[in-house]
């Protein structure tokens, strides 16, 4: 399996999560074909860091998030979390490991059980793991609900449908926090929310991250949102990583043509500059039969013959900045040194 390189992986004692050559494939019925959802990506996340995963629908960003949780298990590759190889774990050990990483989903309303009281929903993980006495559990749940801005008394009496979308997302966040995880994977947590509420939830995540010393993986398709919350961003396209960079660098000097496309697609709230032209035509091709070479070549404005035959590897173009492109818009470091 052709990987997209590992030049960007860091050798640090603070690495909390390290993914290597992660491959996730799904069979297509009994046709013998398969969906190449994630095709050999490598990533690492340091303690206390926020990693943003960005890309269009079908680029494999959500599948990557789920594969880290081993839901479902990746086809191949390794996922090391807090020094443990998750792909080898089974049964109780796996369940135990999952308490250390939690997930928040896109649709806040359907990710909460509609029949139960909100307080019970948040308490359930503690009950399952029999953490503390009844009293301690109640105290913990109440303090976390306060923390996310939900009135515990109201949460004790009300069901999810009595809360707004933004409040339901706060409840999901509270539920993800009760087991004191070290890693939270946020899968498009603000895409379904209004801009005003989106800002509230993003601010809340930043506050909680600082207070609980969390590490976040933030998955979204909106680069402006991802840039705001992330320290480091990985841009994905059709199951591969195109570019990895600190988020400010990614915006200031995008090296991959696809990153530029994503940046140009964001609507700017200013009529003077908003006379945009369509940044890119068409949609990503099917991940069942991905194009050979660089997977972005059919839509890339700079594609040459080599892009159609040879897959680019990730290589450095700056401090912590890596790109998988034969003709990046920023000169690669090794060429500049010559």
């Amino acid at each position: 399996m052709a990987g997209t390189g590992k030049a960007h992986l860091r050798d640090s004692p603070d690495v909390l999560l390290r993914i290597e050559d992660l491959v996730v494939e799904f069979p297509v019925g009994r046709t013998g074909l398969k969906v190449n959802a994630v095709s050999g990506i490598s990533l690492d996340v340091l303690k206390g860091e926020t990693l943003g995963l960005v890309g269009e629908s079908g680029c494999g960003k959500s599948t990557t998030g789920r594969a880290i949780m081993q839901l479902p298990r990746p086809t191949s590759g390794s996922v090391q979390f807090e020094g443990t190889e998750l792909t080898q774990l089974t049964g109780d050990a796996m369940r135990e490991a999952r308490t250390r990483m939690q997930m928040i989903f896109q649709d806040p309303i359907s990710s909460l059980n509609p029949r139960r009281k909100v307080r019970q929903i948040v308490m359930e993980p503690l009950n399952i793991w029999k953490r503390g006495t009844d009293d301690e559990r109640a105290k913990k749940v109440d303090s976390i609900l306060e923390e996310v801005g939900i009135d515990p008394v109201r949460a004790g009496e009300s069901q999810p449908h009595q809360f707004s979308g933004g409040q339901c997302q706060r409840i999901s966040i509270a539920r993800s926090l009760v087991l004191d995880p070290s890693l939270i994977i946020c899968d498009e947590p603000v895409s379904a929310l209004d801009v005003s509420v989106q800002a509230q939830v993003l601010n809340l995540l930043e506050d909680l991250k600082a207070e609980y010393g969390l590490t976040l993986i933030f998955i979204a398709h909106d680069l402006a949102v991802v840039k705001n919350i992330s320290d480091r961003v990985a841009v994905m396209y059709l199951g591969k990583i195109c570019e990895v960079a600190p988020s400010d660098v990614l915006y200031e000097s995008p090296a991959h043509h696809y990153t530029s496309v994503l940046l140009n697609s964001i609507p700017v709230p200013d009529p003077e500059v908003a006379v945009t032209k369509t940044a890119i035509e068409g949609e990503p091709p099917s991940p069942v039969l991905p194009p050979p070479g660089c997977r972005f070549n059919p839509r890339c404005p700079a594609a040459q013959d080599i892009c159609r035959s040879e897959e680019p590897q990730l290589r450095p173009v700056g401090e912590g900045h890596f790109v998988a492109c034969h003709f990046p818009t920023v000169t690669p470091v090794e060429l500049a040194a010559r």
């Binding site: 509420v197 509230q200 709230p269």
Partner: protein, 361 residues
Amino acid sequence: MSDLIQASSRDIDGPLLELTDVTTHFKTARGLVRAVDGVSFTLDRGKALGIVGESGSGKTILSRSIMGLLPPRGTVRGGSIKFEGREIGNLGRKEMRSVWGKEMAMIFQDPMTSLNPVMKIGRQIAEPLQIHLGMTKQNAWATAERLLQDVRIPEPKRRLEQYPHEMSGGMRQRIMIAIALACGPTALFADEPTTALDVTVQAQILDLLGEQRRDRNMSLVLVTHDLGVVAGHTDVIAVMYGGKLVEKASTKGLFANMKMPYTEALLNSIPKLEDRSHTRLSAIAGRPPDLVNPPKGCRFAPRCPYAQPKCQTEEPPLVPTAEDPNHLYACWYPVGSPENAEIKVRLAASKGALAAAAGGN
């Protein structure tokens, strides 16, 4: 016969759409929900209007009130809606049928559920052509193919024979647009047409809507919560809050000279690409008002950083700015006014005092 009446009462020179004091209230067990509460504006032919506001601001109900797409039970409607000079606010569903498609069409947020999953795309586009325009089946299918070309769908002939599940979300939204355009409407309503789509596809769909509007000299009403979406794609913007129109201006005028603190707050809550990462976002605290018991005075006052005692008791009227008679706003202490500047200074001072007190401890 009905065509005759329409033709005689048609007002070609006036505005395409004229709303006067439109109200839409719903009877519920909790009481009367004032979803749209006295909205007036006009929309000219061929122009694009953006209706902006949070969930629960009444923007969707307003556009559905104009389209006549509200449940008949428990809905209390008031005011006047004139389309080409003809009153349509009091028409029933049966009478609206002649308006839908040919005069006004609508596309919705969720392209996944707006199409019939068990009907071929071709039939879904061709059927209204046969019913409304009396085309033969063959003609209708040929027109459907041309419509798919117009909305930039590759291989239109093959797509006509497919079912919705065989297409991506962006593709389906294009098909919704093709269906909406099929009978050549004078006005197209798009309710959050790109919210469910990727940013790249969103840009494509917005461009497509703008291009079709210009080609067909059609009016477009774009309903969204994102000021970024309307900035580049509308001529006029109406901002709604709590069922009321709180600011209306030309798109350029609005962004150059924002008056309503709510509009300013909406704009500031959008994360900006130019800002460093981890820049704190200015969220709007609290939630939109309960429309059963809306707050007295200005409805935005409970969440407004500049709110004064007057805002809590007296409702501000919709007034024009000094510079532009077409720029309307409803605020006692508008952004940019000397009174507002004074409040800003006081807010900054008290914040500074708080910080100093906290630092002293």
